[in-house]
């Protein structure tokens, strides 16, 4: 695109502007779809990549935890990559000739703005919790999948507060409603940072999912392709075994909705910065992540269900 620097962190306005640029530069392939508003009434805008008609689709989102800035930046770079490579990269061309892709770069806009303007450590939404002086809910504990179980807190002041009820966060509810209304989402991938993990269900229980072997195989293959570029090592497995039992998480819900290919990425912190990853590492992170995403998308394309 013009002079947008993908190797830098950007404000919400700049990200929104670049989303519009990508739409403008790829008419007939990319459109912007509004799926709702955040608690503070910011639009939740999704980029839709489609070669026409309503096809089965792949969903990709980032930034549900506001402070994990490398995820929003990776999602925006990925949007530009998909749009630019369609027609030239055989893999992405065949994917888009058969499926649509929906990409939500900023899943938690209120939290993102707050992390940029008030508190760089902010992770949650910015909803007001009745009866508490504390603000916000951990949106990755707010989904209707083992809601309120282990690994989530009922303390509104905790960073892993699950909220007063499942889908209490309008940001979560907006995605839930979109996924349900679309009805033909075949893969759901959500980007977090950090700690270099590629995970699949379940989180709320340590029992194996019915598709454990296939999901493990796809994830291992995706992680290998990621590592191949810059040597970033990933750990692969079910949420519960790789990190801890975490209830109410996104991909437990999407998997419960029949979206078999549900994955969570925890992107890099190579260099030991945690989620304060220097902007100089955005492009290498996005490039390596793209190889893993493409592996998952190809598998989804080649294994219709």
């Amino acid at each position: 695109s013009g002079n947008f620097n993908f190797a830098a962190y950007h404000t919400l306005e700049e990200i929104s502007q670049e989303m519009d640029n990508i739409v403008a530069e790829h008419p007939g392939l990319v459109t912007k779809v509004n799926i709702g508003q955040s608690f503070e009434k910011r639009p939740m805008n999704v980029l839709k990549f489609s070669t026409g008609g309503d096809k089965p689709a792949i969903w990709l989102d980032a930034g549900i935890h506001a402070r994990e800035w490398v995820t929003q930046a990776t999602a925006l770079w990925t949007a530009n990559k998909i749009a630019s490579d369609y027609g030239s990269d055989p893999s992405i061309t065949s994917i888009l000739d058969t499926m649509d892709i929906f990409l939500l770069p900023v899943t938690n806009p209120d939290g993102y703005v707050f992390s940029q303007t008030k508190n760089r450590m902010w992770r949650k939404t910015r909803s007001k919790v009745s009866g508490s002086v504390c603000v916000g809910v951990d949106p990755n504990r707010n989904w209707d999948a083992g809601f309120g179980g282990p690994g989530a807190s009922n303390n509104p002041c905790s960073d892993s507060y699950h909220g007063p009820r499942a889908n209490s966060e309008v940001e979560v509810k907006s995605i839930v409603d979109f996924i349900k209304s679309h009805g033909r989402i075949k893969a759901f991938i959500t980007l977090h940072s950090y700690s270099q993990l590629l995970m699949f269900p379940y989180g709320y229980t340590c029992a194996k999912s019915d598709n454990f072997d296939e999901l493990n195989e796809v994830a291992q293959k995706a992680a290998r392709s990621l590592t191949g570029l810059h040597g970033t090592k990933y750990k692969v497995g079910a949420i519960c075994s790789v990190i801890y039992q975490a209830s109410g998480s996104t991909i437990d819900w999407t998997y419960s909705q029949g979206i078999k290919y549900s994955f969570t990425f925890e992107l890099r912190d190579t260099g030991r910065y945690g989620f304060l990853l220097p902007a100089s590492q955005i492009i290498p992170t996005a490039q390596e992540t793209w190889l893993a995403l493409r592996t998952i998308m190809e598998h989804t394309l080649n294994h219709p269900y």
Partner: protein
């Protein structure tokens, strides 16, 4: 805008379940204002915790008293944030 001058991020490696319990209890000490970036869950795996400057001495003393291994991953969080800010402003000027 909140600042984090002197805050440090410690990399902690609990050896066993008992040390993990100690860390979980430490997190519950609200007056310490600890921010676990990476939670202690599996013995031998690293956990990362941001420790406000005012709590650093107490937290390090506790870890040492419990024989919990730790190292400093980020010496001063605010230094990283200032650099991040500077880069964003520079880039905005360049893009304009």
């Amino acid at each position: 805008r909140e600042t984090f001058v002197g805050d440090q991020v410690l990399e902690v490696i609990p050896r066993n379940e008992e040390q993990i319990r100690h860390l979980v209890n430490l997190e519950a000490e609200e007056h310490l204002q600890l921010d676990f970036w990476k939670s202690p869950t599996i013995p031998g795996e690293t956990a990362h915790v941001r420790v406000p400057f005012v709590s650093a001495q107490a937290v390090k003393a506790f870890l040492e008293s419990q024989g919990i291994a730790y190292s400093i991953m980020i010496e001063d969080v605010q230094v990283l944030l200032d650099k991040e800010d500077e880069e964003m402003l520079l880039n905005q000027r360049r893009e304009r």
